[in-house]
């Protein structure tokens, strides 16, 4: 029984990303989409928090949103997995529920 959490706002703009990480259970997945992809970039002020979260849950980032913001796989914090739209659908299907952190 696990949850897919989605976040769509930058942690530099909103508290939703941090609030999400504060409410995940071990084994959950967190998918960063839209402006939340900036949280996946290595060297950011949030990198340490993201690396810590990656120990308990699996972190994903939506590739098209990452590419749209000039980033690619090489820019990601180690351990974050890249998914495309099909991968997004698979994640939604694999988990028991989705929790969207608006």
């Amino acid at each position: 029984m696990s949850t897919l959490h989605t976040v769509n706002k930058s942690p530099f703009e909103r508290s939703s990303f941090i609030s999400c990480l504060n409410h995940v259970k071990a084994g959950d997945a967190v998918l960063m989409i839209e402006d939340a992809v900036v949280a996946a970039r290595k060297g950011s002020a949030f990198a340490e928090i993201v690396e810590k979260a990656a120990k308990d849950c699996t972190l994903y980032v939506l590739g098209p949103d990452l590419a749209a913001r000039g980033m690619g796989e090489d820019d990601l914090i180690a351990g974050i997995k890249l998914v495309d739209y099909g991968g997004f659908v698979d994640l939604a299907a694999e988990h028991d529920r989705t929790n969207a952190w608006l």
Binding site: S19, N22, D96, R97
Partner: protein, 144 residues
């Protein structure tokens, strides 16, 4: 509409959690959530509401919107019990971070039909750890 014209409703009860994370009035989220909860109540599901982050401000007592030209919809939370929406979970840490205590919240009660219609509080203060388990126990989570 007569009973025999009622549409078929699947007799599967699911656990629905409405997550409220935004203060009222600055955006439409809080009011929209409340409206969806009231609409959803007609489907007789197992409904709970969660209030965390700035969402705890939706339940603060003494809201007065006369100066901003908007409808004060906070009294509507008191009517939720009549729609069998009786579980309003409020995160303790979110209150504390904002300098609020449970005493700052509205008195919201429901009449428990299984206990001789005794009046009971709908607001349940829970820790962040308990909120995590509440979220993980749902079939459907709707966020506002």
């Amino acid at each position: 509409m007569a009973m025999d014209e009622m549409p078929d409703v699947p007799d599967v009860t699911k656990k629905f959690l409405y997550v409220n994370r935004k203060a009222p009035y600055g955006t439409i989220y809080a009011l929209e959530s409340l409206e969806v909860v009231l609409i959803g109540a007609a489907f007789e599901q197992d409904v709970s509401l969660a209030f965390l982050d700035d969402g705890v401000y939706q339940l603060v007592d003494g809201q007065d919107t006369t100066g901003i030209g908007m409808k004060n919809f906070s009294p509507t939370y008191r009517a939720l019990g009549d729609y069998e929406v009786t579980k309003l979970y409020v995160e303790k840490e979110s209150l504390e971070e904002r300098g609020l205590t449970p005493d700052d919240l509205m008195q919201i009660t429901y009449e428990d039909e299984d206990d001789d219609w005794a009046e009971k509080p709908s607001i349940r203060i829970v820790s962040r750890a308990e909120m995590i388990d509440i979220m993980a126990d749902q079939d459907v989570i709707l966020s506002f």
